[in-house]
């Protein structure tokens, strides 16, 4: 294991400190909470959007804190949901009087911890609501879509919720916006190699030379199929095909696309995948309104990528196009 770290147990905390030191124009650390909030939090009268989950997915979640996206983000240790108390602390730090929306990927640990935090906040009179992100097509069949995991599609949901909150949406409105974004987002990924959790020091799975895992989760959870590694064009088409099958109404509509790197895959390869996905979407009549290509939701140094598609309707369009100022996304 070769890592630029100091202490395997302090990776999450020190990385968050580094982020906050690097981007004071957008965010600040919350004392005693392994969390960051936008530098001017709380914004009076505004719904607070709080994201979070395990660390190891940088820039997700903390990198998307700032004006126009999340008001705050709580970071657990590597691949582990944060405990309830820091969630409560961060929620209070962004609470501007209009309630707090919790946004996180739908994992057992996150659900348990955020739910408990919500109960604790309720006791203190702070209103919360929750949207669990479920974009990963590979993680459950359509009839059980509410059980799906959240992966890189988190980005679209946070973007939309953040924009709605910035435009003075109420807690109910911001929640509805996030739900709508989640309902219209699908992702599908492929892994080429494992990451190594710093504290364990060993790869969490093996992939033979020449193999890939289709649908692998952001923490190395096995996917739907292990197959021979194919060309970038074939992989991209396979990922888009599975998304189109799951959301056929995407065809002939407007969409935003994120080609997301899992950590160790060169940007050049992500562009090659984008090129193929673009061609396939055009063949299906999809008009791409926004493209994002890069490392948005990683899995430490895992190799591979995911494709996320957000079907845009007239409500979602202005939210996605709205400005944002965060470490990992500046949009004008």
């Amino acid at each position: 294991m070769k890592k630029l770290i100091n202490d395997p147990r302090k990776v999450a905390a020190e990385a968050l400190e580094g982020l906050a030191l690097a981007y004071p124009q957008y965010l600040r650390l919350v004392p005693n909470a392994q969390a960051v909030v936008r530098k001017d939090a709380p914004v009076a009268g505004k719904v607070g959007v709080l994201s979070g989950g395990g660390s190891g997915h940088e820039p997700m979640f903390a990198g998307f804190v700032g004006a126009g996206m999340a008001d705050g983000s709580v970071a657990g240790n590597i691949f582990a949901s944060p405990p309830p108390q820091p969630i409560v602390t961060a929620a209070k730090a962004i609470h501007g009087g209009a309630g707090v929306l919790f946004l996180y990927g739908n994992y057992s640990g996150d659900v348990l911890n955020f739910d408990m935090a919500a109960e604790m906040l309720e006791e203190e009179g702070i209103r919360t609501s929750t949207v669990r992100i479920t974009d990963d097509v590979a993680s459950a069949p359509p009839e059980r879509h509410e059980e799906r995991r959240g992966i890189a599609g988190d980005f679209f949901v946070i973007k939309v919720a953040g924009a709605c909150a910035a435009r003075e949406g109420s807690l109910a409105e911001v929640t509805a916006a996030a739900e709508e974004a989640n309902r219209h987002t699908r992702s599908m990924g492929v892994a080429l190699s494992s990451c190594i959790i710093p504290a364990s020091g060993t790869p969490i799975f093996d992939l033979a030379e020449g193999d890939m895992e289709v649908g692998m989760g952001l923490h190395g959870e096995p996917g739907v199929e292990r197959a021979r590694l194919k060309s970038a064009n074939e992989v991209a088409e396979e990922l888009v095909r599975r998304i189109l099958e799951d959301m056929p109404e995407l065809a002939n509509g407007d969409a935003a696309i994120l080609v997301n790197g899992l950590g160790a895959t060169p940007l050049a390869e992500l562009f090659i995948v984008f090129r193929a996905a673009h061609a396939m979407l055009v063949r299906h009549g999809v008009t791409i309104r926004h493209s994002y290509v890069g490392n948005y939701a990683t899995s430490l140094e895992m190799a591979g990528c995911s494709i996320s598609l957000l079907r845009l309707n007239e409500r979602l369009k202005p939210w996605l196009a709205a400005p944002a100022q965060t470490p990992a996304l500046v949009q004008i």
Partner: protein
Amino acid sequence: MALQAIDARRLSQMLVFVAGEIARREAELNALDAAAGDGDHGITMRIGFEAIRERLGQLDPATPVDAILRESGNAFLGGTGGAIGVVMGKMLMAGGKALQGVQEIRAPEFLLLLNSWETSVSATGKVKPGDRTILDAIHGAASALTASDATKKDLDVVVDLSAAAAQEAARSTADMLCRVGRASRLGTRVLGHPDPGATSFAIMLRAMHDWITSPTALDTQL
């Protein structure tokens, strides 16, 4: 000679011993979790038990049994994160509630404890036996004691019995499909590997038994 009653001081010592056993098995638990989850269960359990150990070191020596359990649960919950943080944290706290006012844990109290744990985990995690979670091991242990009229037996016998049942139950999760948690889409690809949380629980009970049967050798660990 095996202990027949665990008072508050002994309970602390036992928990520290369990913490050591969990740390010793960390890599194995990570590997089990890697088969279907995210490979961190050993890390998370170790961190949780370190939080317990630290908290125990800060407690007033006069802290009673129920408070020790509550504080341990609180420390685990607060210091861990992940699914297991809430599940184990609330479980330990529920144990403290169930043993309110108790001075010593003997066989009947041990059964009470296990039952409270089963109820708590089932409620917290919204799971039932057969869902391939830690609950399977707890349920296995509790059922074995209920079936064998445990309250009339010696503590070490009862803990031994429950540890064996937990281990058997943990092993049997290898044949279960996963309904909740990270591995729920895997279907049959998960088969063949026991659930990490259930395995942890079996390790915990076995460690308790080991400690009860030779407690003094370990007195120095706190």
